[in-house]
Subunit: 451 residues, 2 copies
C-alpha cells in the first residue's frame, strides 16, 4: 500500500478555541470573534507552521449564548478574505448539504478555489439539530440515514456542476469573437430525488477540478459516504486501537469501491495542551477545566449526546443512553464513543462532562511537545491515521504552541514538511486532480431534462 | 427638502465591461475574469477615485457562452476578499431573494459587513429568467408581482434576523463567564407565507445595523418595494425628463410611507465612453459598436425584451411588443423604455440593438470629460438623481478613464468628495444607521412560534 511518509495537518478553528469555556481563558481572543484581524493572525500562524490547511467549523444556530461563545462568521466569505493574506495554506470551509442549494454551493466553493488559486476544501456536513431546521422554515431535521442519502445526491449534483465546463472550455479569442467553446459548456440535467439542477454552472471548472472533498462523519453511513466521495475524513478517535480499526474499515470500504488507498486521508481530531513539563501541561489543563461551571455540564453533555441528562446527579454515573439509531437523530458514532469511555473508566457524569466538554468528543492530549510528537508519530506509523486535525482548546495561544513547539520536532523527525512543495490543497495532501465525472455513479446519472 | 450637495457614485462591475462585446476590446481583461488580481485592481481604482462603492452584478445562469463573456465569481465571496485590499470603499453584492434562504443571506451579508467593518451593501434582486429557475430545481421563474411580494417577505425576514441580537448583546465578561446577554439575543419566530425562520441569527447585529439595502427595479412593484425597503435605487433612465419624473414619483411614494427624502438615494446607471475630444469619444464608440456581430443583435434584443425577435429583419423597425404585464415575466420597465426610444427616434432593429446591447438598456454617454461632468451636474441639480452608478463599457480602461479624468472635474466643482470623511458605506451615502425594527411592518410581524 503506497503511503506518504509525512503527516498531514489541519488547524481546526472553532469559536475562541475548542474548549467549551476556552473563551474564558485569559489568553483567548473572545472579544475578536467577529474581527477579521484575529482570523488573519490564525491563518498566518498556521501557514508559518506549513500546515496543510485551516479548517473552519460551521453551525447554523446559536444557543446558550450566555455561557458559551456563540456566533460564527460565514466560513466561505471568511476564507475568501483569508485567501488574500495567505499564499499556500489550504482553506477549508464547512458547508451543510441540508440547508443549501447545490447550485449555490458549487458556485461559492468554486469561487473560493479561484480566489485562492486552488486552495479550497469543502468539509461536507449534513448539520445536526432540529434548531437548525427551524431557521430554514422546516419543522424538524431530517433523520440521519436520510440526510446521508440526500448528501450523496447533493454532492453528486455539485461535482456534476463543477464538471459542466470542461477544463479547456475557455477560449477568449477576441479577434474571432469566441469566448468559450460551446461544445464544452453543457447543461448537466441533473434530476435527482431531492435535488435537481440543469446547469451549466456560472463559473468554469475550478482550478483543482473539485475543491478537496472532506467528510466528518464516523458512523456507518458516514463511512460509506466517505468511501464514495471523501478525500479526507475528519474523525473523532479516542484510542490507538479504535483509530486503527477505523482506518482499516475505511480502507476496506475504499477498496470495495475500487478507489486507491492514497485517494483518502484520515485525520482524527486532536486537542493538545502543551507544557514544557508534564506538570505544567496538567496545570494548564486543570486551570481550563475549572472554568467549566457545573451548570454547563448537564446541558452540554445532553446536547453532545442528544439525550436529556438534566434529571441526573453530577456525581452519579452516566445512565444507559438509548440506541441513537432508534431514539435520536444525531451523532451516532459519538454516543457510542462516550458510552464506551464512561463505562471503561468508571467516570462520573461530572468527570466525563468536563473531559468531553473540553475536547467535544475528540481526543485530548496533555503533555510536553516531545510526548505529543511521540504519540502523533506512533499513530501515524501504526496506521491509525494519515495526520491530524489540530483543535486548539484556546485560540490563538494553543495554536501558537503547536506551531512553535511541536511542528519543529515533527520536522526534525522527517515527519512533516519544512516548506510547501506544491501550491494547491491537493498538492499538500497528495491528492490527484479529479477528471470530470470522477465521483459520479451510475445510479445517480441524470435521468431527463426537466422543464 | 434636505439634500446632499454632493453626488454619490458607484462603480458597477459586470463581466469584462458592460458592453455586450466589451470583452473583445483590445484593452479588456477578459482573460482575467476568474482571477482575483483583476478585481483587486478595479476596487483599488474605484477607491482611488473616492467612489461610494463598487457594485457587483449577479446572474444565476450562463448562456451564449460562445459569443458573450459568461460566468461570474460569487459576489459575496469576491467582495469579502476585496475587503482586505481596500480601506474605505463600500462593497455591494447583488444577491437574489428568489434562489436563496433568508437565514443564509442574512448571515453572509452580515459577515461581509463584519469583515469590511461596515462597508457592505446588498443589491436586492429577484432574478429574471426561467433558466435560473431550472438551476434550482424549479420548472419556472415566479411571476413578476409574486416575486416582489416574496422579496418583501424575504427582506423582512432578513432584517428581523439582523435585529435578533441587540446592538449591545455581546458582554464577553471572562471573569463572570458571561458571553452574551441572553435577554438581548432572541428568536424572531418569523413565520411568513413563503419564508419562515426562527432565529436568532448565528452572528451578532452587523456593524451598520443593516448592510445598505439597494434595489434595482424601476417597475411599479419595484418602486413600491424600494419605497418600503430601499435605501439606494439603481435605475435605468434614458432622459432627464424621465429621470426627473421617476425621482418625483419615488419621493412621493417615500413620503406616503412616512420616510424622509434623504433616506433613499436614486442612482441611475451611466455607461460613459470618454475621449479628449468629442470626435475621439465617438471613434471609440464606433470601434466598440463594430465588434457587435449582426448575429447577436436579434438574440440579444430578444433576451432583453423577453420577446422573440428572431423572425424580424435587422433593417426593419421594432414590432409592437406585447404588454409584458400580460405576456411575459421580466423587465417590465425596460420594455417600455425601449419601445419609447425606438418609436421616438425611428431606429431600425439593428440600430436599437447596437445601442442597447452596448449599454444594456442603461444610459450611454459619449463625449469629453467636461461634457460628462456637465450632464452629471445637470441631472443632479435638476433633481433627476442623487448620483450615478457608473457602468464602464470596457474594464478596466473605462473605469480608469472615469476616475482619472471625470472625478477630478467633479471634485473641482465641489460636486464630489476629495477624501472619504466616514468609514462605513452608510457614512459615504449619508444614510443613518437603522434602529432595530426599522423596516418591519405590522402585517409582516411574526405570527407564531413554529415547531
Amino acid at each position: 500500500m503506497k503511503r506518504s511518509d509525512q503527516l498531514h495537518l489541519g488547524a481546526f478553528i472553532y469559536y475562541a478555541g475548542h474548549h467549551q469555556v476556552g473563551w474564558r481563558h485569559p489568553e483567548s481572543r473572545a472579544r475578536d470573534l467577529f474581527d477579521f484581524k484575529l482570523y488573519r493572525e490564525l491563518a498566518q500562524t498556521a501557514e508559518r507552521g506549513k500546515l496543510d490547511m485551516i479548517f473552519f467549523a460551521d453551525l447554523l444556530y446559536v444557543q446558550n449564548v450566555g455561557q458559551a461563545a456563540a456566533g460564527m462568521l460565514e466560513p466561505v466569505a471568511l476564507l475568501s478574505a483569508l485567501s488574500t493574506v495567505t499564499e499556500r495554506i489550504g482553506l477549508t470551509a464547512t458547508v451543510s448539504t441540508t440547508y443549501n442549494e447545490p447550485y449555490n454551493v458549487a458556485r461559492k466553493m468554486a469561487t473560493l478555489d479561484f480566489l485562492s488559486e486552488g486552495r479550497a476544501g469543502w468539509n461536507i456536513v449534513t448539520s445536526q439539530l432540529d434548531i437548525e431546521a427551524y431557521n430554514y422554515g422546516r419543522s424538524h431535521h431530517p433523520e440521519h440515514g436520510l440526510r446521508y442519502e440526500m448528501a450523496r445526491e447533493f454532492v453528486s449534483a455539485v461535482t456534476s456542476l463543477w464538471d459542466s465546463w470542461q477544463d479547456d472550455a475557455l477560449v477568449i479569442d477576441k479577434q474571432a469573437g469566441l469566448f468559450a467553446d460551446e461544445a464544452k459548456v453543457k447543461p448537466i440535467d441533473f434530476a435527482g430525488q431531492w435535488y435537481s439542477t440543469r446547469g451549466p454552472l456560472n463559473v468554469p471548472r475550478p482550478p483543482q477540478g473539485y475543491p478537496v472533498l472532506i467528510q466528518a462523519g464516523s458512523s456507518g453511513p458516514g463511512q460509506d459516504f466517505a468511501a464514495n466521495y471523501g478525500e479526507v475524513i475528519f474523525t473523532a478517535q479516542q484510542s490507538l486501537e479504535a483509530a486503527q480499526l477505523f482506518y482499516r474499515e475505511v480502507h476496506d470500504r475504499l477498496a470495495a469501491n475500487g478507489r486507491s488507498p492514497d485517494s483518502l486521508k484520515i485525520m482524527p481530531g486532536l486537542a493538545p495542551i502543551i507544557g514544557d513539563t508534564e506538570e505544567e501541561a496538567w496545570l494548564k489543563y486543570r486551570e481550563l477545566e475549572e472554568l467549566i461551571p457545573d451548570s454547563v455540564i448537564l446541558p452540554g453533555l445532553s446536547q453532545m449526546l442528544n439525550f436529556d441528562l438534566r434529571p441526573y446527579p453530577l456525581d452519579g454515573e452516566l445512565p444507559d443512553i438509548p440506541d441513537p439509531v432508534e431514539a435520536s437523530n444525531g451523532m451516532k458514532s459519538r454516543v457510542k464513543l462516550v458510552m464506551d469511555m464512561a463505562r471503561g473508566e468508571q467516570l462520573s457524569i461530572r468527570q466525563i462532562g468536563r473531559r468531553l466538554i473540553g475536547a467535544r468528543g475528540h481526543r485530548q492530549f496533555i503533555g510536553t511537545p516531545e510526548q505529543l510528537a511521540d504519540t502523533m508519530e506512533e499513530w501515524f506509523q501504526e496506521r491509525a491515521c494519515d495526520g491530524f486535525n489540530i483543535m486548539p482548546p484556546v485560540l490563538p495561544v494553543h495554536l501558537n504552541d503547536f506551531v512553535d513547539k511541536v511542528v519543529p520536532i515533527l520536522q526534525q523527525r522527517g515527519l512533516f514538511r519544512t516548506e510547501y512543495t506544491g501550491h494547491t490543497l491537493r498538492d499538500h495532501l497528495g491528492l490527484s486532480r479529479p477528471e470530470a465525472g470522477h465521483f459520479r455513479r451510475e445510479k445517480e446519472q441524470p435521468v431527463e431534462r426537466r422543464a
